[in-house]
């Protein structure tokens, strides 16, 4: 909970600084946004984390204060090429028979909005901006109709693993212009460069958009092991054997009974 109170504090400070800025700054209906942290460190005890994404809308001077517009927040992870395989019964046994290669599959995808996205804007706009995991457009090598269930399967499994999420009505407004949402990153999140996108809609039209980077990195012992294994695979193999030999010997010595 200590973490959350820190968010709250950060948030409060930002809230007031934005308010001050707002009174001086030019009110043009644009977005000012930030993330509670731009770096997620994957340490050896990493169990997933929550990030706070927040911002404020600089209202037009003429506009009614109550109408703050709609916010959609999207976080996308690094894109990967996936091979999706389908099992079929062959002589009574389930075996992989067919496969499809999908390109540009985000390893992570989360969207959040202050109300159901279909109510915010048109389907065309949602499709164009790829808002919501079901609107992600993966490219398949040798595109044809049979690829569709493979795409569906990836989205379904990613959703089950909490790597894809679509959480509508989780962007909360605090007052007329300040909004916040939390995005959950599970423990098995892919490391790499992420982007957080903020979209502001008014009466179905995209008024403003902001994008900020987010990095997920391995740190500490985990990272050192990972890099050692990648950069010096042969040495890593020998080290792994030596560790095992010593561990076995120690155990035997400790348990020796004579």
């Amino acid at each position: 909970m200590g973490l959350f109170s820190r968010y709250q504090l950060l948030f409060t400070i930002l809230f007031f600084s934005l308010l001050l800025q707002d009174t001086k700054g030019r009110a043009d209906g644009s977005l000012v946004t930030d993330i509670s942290s731009h770096l997620i460190s994957v340490t050896s005890d990493f169990t997933g984390t929550d990030l706070l994404l927040f911002g404020t809308i600089r209202a037009l001077a003429s506009e009614d204060e109550k109408d703050h517009g709609d916010i959609i927040v999207v976080v996308r992870g690094p894109e990967r090429e996936l091979i999706v395989r389908k099992k079929e019964r062959v002589a009574g046994i389930w075996a992989n028979t067919k496969s499809v290669t999908l390109q540009k599959v985000p390893s992570f995808y989360a969207s959040a909005s202050n109300r159901p996205v279909e109510d915010i804007t048109s389907k065309t706009t949602l499709d164009r901006l790829r808002i919501g995991p079901d609107r992600l457009a993966f490219k398949a090598k040798g595109e044809d109709a049979h690829v569709f269930p493979y795409k569906k399967a990836v989205i379904r499994q990613k959703k089950e693993a909490e790597l894809y999420s679509d959480r509508q009505s989780t962007v909360h407004f605090l007052g007329p212009s300040l909004f916040r949402t939390t995005i959950h990153f599970p423990a098995n999140v892919t490391v790499g460069n992420y982007t957080a996108e903020f979209y502001l809609f008014r009466e179905g039209d995209l008024v403003s958009a902001q994008s900020s980077p987010l990095f997920i990195k391995k740190v500490g012992l985990g990272r050192q092991i990972f890099e050692f294994a990648r950069n010096y695979p042969a040495l890593h193999g020998i080290a792994a054997i030596v560790i095992a030999l010593i561990a076995g010997w120690i155990a035997s010595a400790v348990f020796r009974k004579d």
């Binding site: 005890d45 090429e81 389930w94 892919t190 294994a229 990648r230 560790i243 120690i250």
Partner: protein, 307 residues
Amino acid sequence: MPVYLPIAELSVNLFLILGMGGAVGLLSGMFGVGGGFLMTPLLIFTGIPPAVAVATGANQLVAASVSGVLAHWRRGNVDFKMGFVLLVGGVAGSSLGTWIFALLKSAGQIDLLISLSYVIFLGVIGSLMLFESLGALLRNRKGTAKRKKLHQHYWIHGLPFKMRFRKSKLYISALMPLGLGFFVGILSAIMGVGGGFVMVPAMIYLLGMPTSVVIGTSLFQIIFVTANVTFLQSWATQTVDVMLALLLMSSAVIGAQFGTRIGTKMKGEQLRSLLGLLVLLVCLKLAADLVLTPDDVYSFGVIGGEN
């Protein structure tokens, strides 16, 4: 308590992994098998990618076998000469096996091959051991046990390059243990096992080695075969997760120590019938997974292995 595995790139429950390692270690000490045939499927059920499970399993087996072999060595239950001939074949076989593994992994058929190999080998060996040992137990109970012939003659005994293995009280062709080692080496690399479950019965029934030296000698050669698999997998596929291996090792070696003690107090027939039963259970579980309709017929993997 969760712990992040840097190569598998996921978090696992620390106590689950330690518990698995301890339980498998106990069995491995009791039966003189590396325990890989239980460890690898268990790791895969936990969600560890099969390639990481196989490679890391091999790494963990190095530690388990070292600690096991030292215990047997002190009792003089290791035939080093036989072990050496077996491991020469084993290192060659496991190198070939690692190559086949990489080939089938890219073809998307490695999981099927792993499962099929398990079902076939565990099924055959499990039933052989179970029926043979149950038969022996029944004969003992009736008190009509016939004295076994010292050795029987097969065509195998006509092979050239005869060697004397004093400890095993055998004078047989070196080609037999060499070939056996090679064959088990291939299985070892593909299935992520030490191969004890094939090696132990083969040494008893095929080579005719005395049961007392079989377990120690099998563990001795498993050290080298699994070390070879660890090195090759780390070098070629970078799928050895040292963090996971360390957790498994630390619990498995402790379990193995207790297992070895339990094992020496049990009769050979009892031990073999229990092992046979265990082997058949794992076989049935894997066979069921192959035949029953899977929860999801789709599965996916990242191309190039780079997460």
